[in-house]
């Protein structure tokens, strides 16, 4: 059972939670840029957290459903059209065979997640279904979606979808989607990684090499409103603004870097390392974005969004991480309840 790709959009890739445990072979963890929205999209269709979704950057694809399928679009705010009529987002929608979904442009944020009941069933590579574009493996042949491609779904997607939607319907809060053959529910899940304020405020702890930068550069890093450059991608977000200078110039031996590491190459233009980052780097690290803010940073749309960094302590970073984990698991629990206990 498949989802046919009529138009590719800008950059849609199959993603899951990524590949853990392979960084010593320089294999990036990868996975969803906004892992929180990916997880909620999965929960909205009754999937486990490790199911693969379609990650949609900025301009979405147009897809044709060959079978009935329970789907949900979460993350960046799109205004999708289902057979030409608005499709509700952030909620489960039972789409009928033959329907066409045009995801359209993101009106807020950068990355949306389209989850389908049963997951997108591409073959795992190195333990993950995530597309790793720099290595050209994982996902759908290691590439972004192309027009004419088919996304494999679970063989019993129609049955699983019907069964899950029936359970949702027991609450009685279902509704037809006007102008379409689809059915949905009267509630929706909150967005935990939006709104994308301008500037987006991202908390950072001091980088491993913060002391190598002169005081004006450290102050400018925290004061400046940085534009996320248009040539940013899943590997890193380039920050356009003043050039930062390292006070002490010394060679740094290549070392392990992290999601959210802010490194400053010789040109002085900082780069925040994202999901498909290289696993090691030799540029000085002025700061490290806290992990709770990584999914929010992912939603800063390259080319338009601006970001300001705010210094935090490790304790504050831990507290924020705990708070986000609590909010996500509470939401996921609530969604499980909507499906009834048997689903999970």
């Amino acid at each position: 059972m498949t989802l046919r790709v009529l138009r590719a959009g800008l950059l849609a890739t199959v993603q899951d939670l990524g590949r853990a445990g392979l960084q010593h072979l320089a294999i990036a963890p990868g996975g969803a840029m906004d892992a929180v929205s990916h997880r909620i999209a999965n929960a909205l269709v009754g999937n486990f957290r490790d199911a693969a979704t379609l990650e949609i950057a900025l301009v979405g694809p147009e897809l044709a459903f060959e079978r009935d399928a329970l789907v949900a679009l979460h993350g960046a705010r799109f205004e999708p059209l289902l057979d030409g009529a608005p499709m509700p987002v952030a909620r489960p929608v039972l789409v009928r065979a033959g329907a066409r979904l045009a995801v359209g442009r993101a009106v807020e944020g950068a990355f949306g997640y389209l989850a389908v009941a049963g997951g997108i069933e591409v073959a795992p590579v190195l333990g993950s279904r995530s597309t790793y574009l720099p290595g050209a493996f994982g996902g759908l042949g290691g590439r972004a979606l192309q027009a004419g491609a088919v996304l494999p779904l679970a063989p019993d997607v129609a049955e699983v979808s019907a069964w899950r939607f029936e359970r949702l319907a027991r609450g009685g809060r279902t509704t037809a989607v006007a102008g379409t053959t689809a059915t949905s529910v009267r509630w929706s899940a909150p967005m935990l990684t939006l709104p994308a304020t301008d500037p987006l405020v991202i908390r950072v702890v001091d980088g491993v090499h913060a002391e190598l930068f002169d005081e004006p550069s450290r102050a400018a890093f925290l004061r400046e409103r940085w534009r996320v450059a248009a040539d940013s991608n899943r590997m890193g977000y380039r920050l356009a603004g003043p050039k930062l200078a390292a006070a002490v110039s010394r060679d740094i031996q290549s070392q392990g870097v992290c999601l959210g590491t802010v490194q400053v190459p010789a040109g002085g233009q900082p780069i925040v390392l994202m999901a498909d980052r290289q696993t090691t780097g030799g540029y000085p690290r002025i700061a490290e974005a806290i992990s709770a803010d990584a999914p929010r940073l992912a939603q800063a749309a390259p080319g338009t969004a601006t970001v300001r960094f705010e210094r935090a302590t490790l304790e504050a970073a831990d507290a924020a991480r705990g708070e986000l984990a609590r909010r996500v698991s509470e939401l996921v629990e609530r969604l499980r309840w909507e499906f009834g206990d048997e689903v999970h």
Binding site: H24, I27, Q255, Q278
Partner: protein, 249 residues
């Protein structure tokens, strides 16, 4: 560990230290500069940390002179506890492990390399820069006792130390836009082998028909940090035979 100068100009040893790298990793720094003894220590510490199997650790990355341990946590208390446990584990592993003198002897991984000119665009320049003939460059490269210092940059990309000191050349002034997969290149006292066609600034002196990285193979990476390596010169005919014999991607 490599000595460095302090503010008074005197020499002192770099004291290994554990620092946070963001809120989800700790890094053990063993030295500031390339130091084969510190590199061996980093790899041995990484092995110990991996073997300890501490819950929540996702990745242990031994680099040139550092070990980075990535962990995950679902609450503030768990993050703090894991950070503390990882810090102790790193220091305990450091206390237990030795450096280069504790290197285990094993058979080197043999990498066949064709050094003929069509695969070696920079060989003549390297020869000129080092005052050697191309044949001597090849002989010294094949005779050096190489060892993988770390895997980084792109999947399966080895930084290989042990290059004969007579082959010390810097990176090229301007990087080439594309090095072929299998390109064997030297710079800064090290050898690299490119797993994918990528831009690169190292001096290409040959090419191997082996696939350094294949996501469908187990293990996916031909080399791991610590592997001894020997480069074996092969003629173009053998290169072609080995290259065609490899499984289709």
């Amino acid at each position: 560990m490599s000595p460095r100068r302090d503010a008074t100009g005197g020499r002192r040893r770099f004291a290994p230290r554990v620092v946070p790298a963001g809120d989800s990793a700790l890094m053990l720094e063993l030295a500031e500069d390339l130091d084969l003894d510190a590199n061996a220590t980093a790899r041995h510490v990484a092995e110990e940390v991996r073997a300890a199997g501490l819950e929540g650790i996702t990745d242990v990355v031994a680099a040139i002179v550092t070990v980075t341990v990535h962990f995950q946590a679902a609450s503030a208390a768990q993050a703090a506890a894991r950070r503390e446990a990882v810090g102790h584990l790193l220091l305990a592993a450091l206390a237990r492990t030795g450096g280069a003198e504790d290197e285990r002897e094993r058979a080197p991984v043999e990498i066949p390399v064709c050094y003929e000119s069509r695969f070696a665009p920079d060989l003549a320049e390297v020869a000129a820069a080092t005052g050697l003939t191309a044949e001597e460059v090849v002989r010294l490269h094949a005779a050096s006792a190489h060892r993988v210092l770390m895997i980084g940059f792109v999947p399966g990309f080895p930084y290989i130390g042990g290059l004969d000191a007579r082959l010390a050349v810097p990176r090229r002034a301007s990087p080439r836009p594309r090095l072929e997969a299998g390109a064997v290149a030297i710079a800064n006292g090290q050898t690299a082998v490119y797993p994918f066609p990528t831009p690169g600034g190292w001096n290409v002196i040959g090419r191997t028909p082996l696939r350094l990285f294949d996501p469908d193979r187990d293990p996916a990476s031909l080399l791991a940090a610590g592997d001894p390596v020997r480069f074996r010169p092969i003629p173009a005919a053998e290169f072609e035979r080995l290259a065609s014999g490899r499984p289709a991607r």
